[in-house]
């Protein structure tokens, strides 16, 4: 069933990390080989219910993310399905080379759970705002990268990750964000979902900012009489090239949206496909080669140009470039 953004009178909020916690518990009930490794962040990565339900499958490592990645690879060599949980800045940030050698190169069945990704960790500031994780993981052959748009999709992504035989990186956010998908919304690894149809332009977004993209589409329709297609890209790798190329051909304009550096992230990944297959004008809504800072999540999204109005402006600029040709 295609997604339809309805008027939601009382929008509910939850963080994608909460969806992970729920999915983890459900996956663990089905598969006894799932073990969880924590680097002293059990509660905030939403692993506490798992720890309470399956204490014998919960492994506390202390603050040691590098060893955690390699220990997980060892556990996987021993037949377990380890979920390594931390903040994205530490894992896959701190331990990238361990992930590369021990997990990706060995094709170890390890799930890397990076919570607190993006600017939305807010007051913690630049040191903890992971804006580079998609770039870091996207360059690893054989890894699957999932970046869910809301709590419901995060749960589905977690269940899917548990079933994949091989390395997975799951990108999660700390801050509560709108819940706008449900049990009937399709989710399939490697497939983009068209959340809104349109011909004037395509917005491809990932993570909780998909909701901002939908708001932008609504504004474009009301104010500018433009119908734009909005795509939820919850699998960054393997990327759904078919849908990207089809969208480029159909709408002739692509704008990407991500709470991540423009360099190396979703925008770069989409651009690689567009340039090689069907070049069209593109623009990138994301972080433009800057570190973040302390502030409220919403203030930061506004300051760094990631909210609906910036997406609207980017779409209008890009359509103008197309029309100039």
């Amino acid at each position: 069933m295609p997604f339809v953004l309805k008027e939601i009178p009382r929008l509910k909020y939850a963080a994608t990390r909460d969806g992970f916690g729920l999915g983890l518990l459900e996956a663990a009930k089905k598969n006894k080989n799932i073990v969880v490794l924590s680097a002293d962040l059990t509660e905030s990565t939403r692993c506490l219910p798992f720890k309470e339900k399956f204490p014998e499958r919960f492994i506390q490592l202390g603050v040691a993310e590098q060893s955690m990645a390699s220990i997980a690879a060892g556990l996987a060599l021993g037949g377990k399905i380890p979920f390594i949980t931390s903040y994205a800045i530490f894992s896959p940030g701190r331990n990238w080379e361990q992930i590369r050698t021990c997990i990706a190169l060995q094709n170890a069945n390890v799930k890397i759970i990076g919570s607190h990704a993006g600017l939305n960790v807010g007051p913690d500031g630049a040191t903890h705002q992971m804006l580079e994780d998609l770039a870091l993981t996207r360059v690893l052959p054989g890894i699957t990268i999932l970046s869910p748009c809301d709590v419901a999709e995060a749960k589905k992504a977690t269940l899917a990750a548990a079933k994949i035989k091989g390395p997975v990186y799951l990108r999660l956010a700390r801050e509560a964000s709108p819940i706008f998908t449900g049990s009937t919304t399709l989710f399939e690894v490697g497939r983009m979902q068209i959340f809104r149809e349109g011909v004037a332009a395509t917005i491809i977004a990932t993570g909780p900012l998909v909701y901002e993209a939908l708001k932008a589409a609504e504004i474009l329709k009301i104010k500018d009489k433009l119908n734009v297609r909005v795509i939820n890209c919850s699998t960054i790798k393997p990327l759904d090239k078919k849908t990207i190329i089809e969208s480029a051909k159909k709408t002739g304009v692509i704008v990407t949206v991500e709470e991540h550096m423009v360099a190396g992230g979703l925008g770069s990944a989409v651009a690689e496909v567009v340039v090689a297959n069907h070049p069209v004008p593109m623009e990138f809504v994301g972080i433009k080669d800057k570190f973040g800072e302390s502030g409220k999540p919403q203030e930061l999204l506004e300051k760094y140009g990631l909210t609906a109005r910036y997406i609207v402006a980017a779409v209008i600029r890009t359509i103008a470039r197309k029309n100039k040709k």
Partner: protein, 286 residues
């Protein structure tokens, strides 16, 4: 595994000499690689593959096998040579080391060669992987053991100590860590580059049981492994004192040979020394 009787000990020593010769031939043919550490570990790898490990070369993925994790992957020529002699793959394949299309990658890769147990090269990661494997074995109440062979230089990697804290916390007594204490690394002696001593005390302070042995004495090494298995309260670290470049006079204890190979006349001289046990016997090959 049981104690070594004299006959078996003698035959292991002979195998170690053949492995040394193969290591040298492989490195010379490859044109690059790490000579000193590989030669220094010929005895330990012989002991593992011909006496210590419970394994089956014809079934490298047999689930009840002991696991030997090599952390300092750059000494893999020694492992490859021992594996070939044990029957994992034909000895003729040894000369493909580091060549395009070879299963014998410059640093060992799990996906390429069955039996290598893990991918390694970037230092400091083997101890964590071994600890993870040992933890999995404990969860499953499996009887197989994990051995992790590491270099002394890589103890400068902080991750090693993260892994040792983990092993001590979870009492991974089914895992034995072996340090190739050859005192050298690329740029010099370990104690010059970044001192490791007092090493034994450091391990003890991290909650491990420590054994020491002469790593080029197969009997002494086997005995240390046996003692480690008796320790049921803590995981054991064996500090195996080895001679880098063992068997070749002009290489022994010279850090300059860490990451290079003998070429031309040097290579011929090195091979002659191995074959004659540094002039002690007349070579059969001459």
């Amino acid at each position: 595994m049981h104690a070594l009787h004299d006959g078996k000990f003698k035959s292991l020593e002979e195998i170690a000499v053949q492995i040394r010769e193969d290591i040298l031939k492989m490195l010379i043919k490859a044109g690059s690689g790490h000579s000193a550490g590989s030669l220094g570990l010929a005895d330990i790898f012989t002991a593992f593959y011909f006496h210590i490990l419970n394994h089956n070369p014809k079934k490298p993925n047999w689930k009840n096998r002991d696991r030997l994790i090599l952390s300092n992957g750059h000494v893999c020529p020694a492992r490859y040579a021992a594996m070939a002699h044990a029957g994992y793959f034909p000895k003729s394949e040894l000369l493909t080391l580091r060549k395009l299309g070879s299963r014998l990658q410059g640093h060992p890769e799990l996906q390429c060669l069955p039996g290598v147990e893990s991918t390694s090269g970037p230092l400091g990661e083997g101890s964590s992987q071994a600890a993870g494997l040992a933890y999995a074995a404990k969860m499953d109440e499996a009887k197989w053991r994990v051995y992790c062979l590491m270099s002394d230089g890589e103890l400068q990697e902080g991750q090693t100590w993260e892994a040792l804290m983990f092993a001590a916390k979870y009492k991974l007594t089914n895992c034995t860590f072996i340090i190739d204490r050859n005192n050298i690394q690329i740029e010099g002696h370990t104690e010059t580059v970044m001192p490791l001593e007092p090493l034994v005390e450091k391990f003890k302070a991290f909650g491990l049981h420590v054994e020491e042995c002469a790593g080029n004495d197969i009997r002494d090494f086997v005995n240390a492994i046996e003692r480690a298995k008796e320790i049921s309260e803590k995981p054991t670290v064996i500090v195996a004192h080895t001679i880098p470049g063992k068997g070749i006079d002009f290489m022994e204890n010279k850090f300059e040979w860490h990451g290079k190979i003998p070429v031309g006349a040097e290579g011929r001289k090195a091979l002659a020394e191995i074959r004659t046990l540094q002039g002690k016997i007349k070579s059969e090959h001459e």
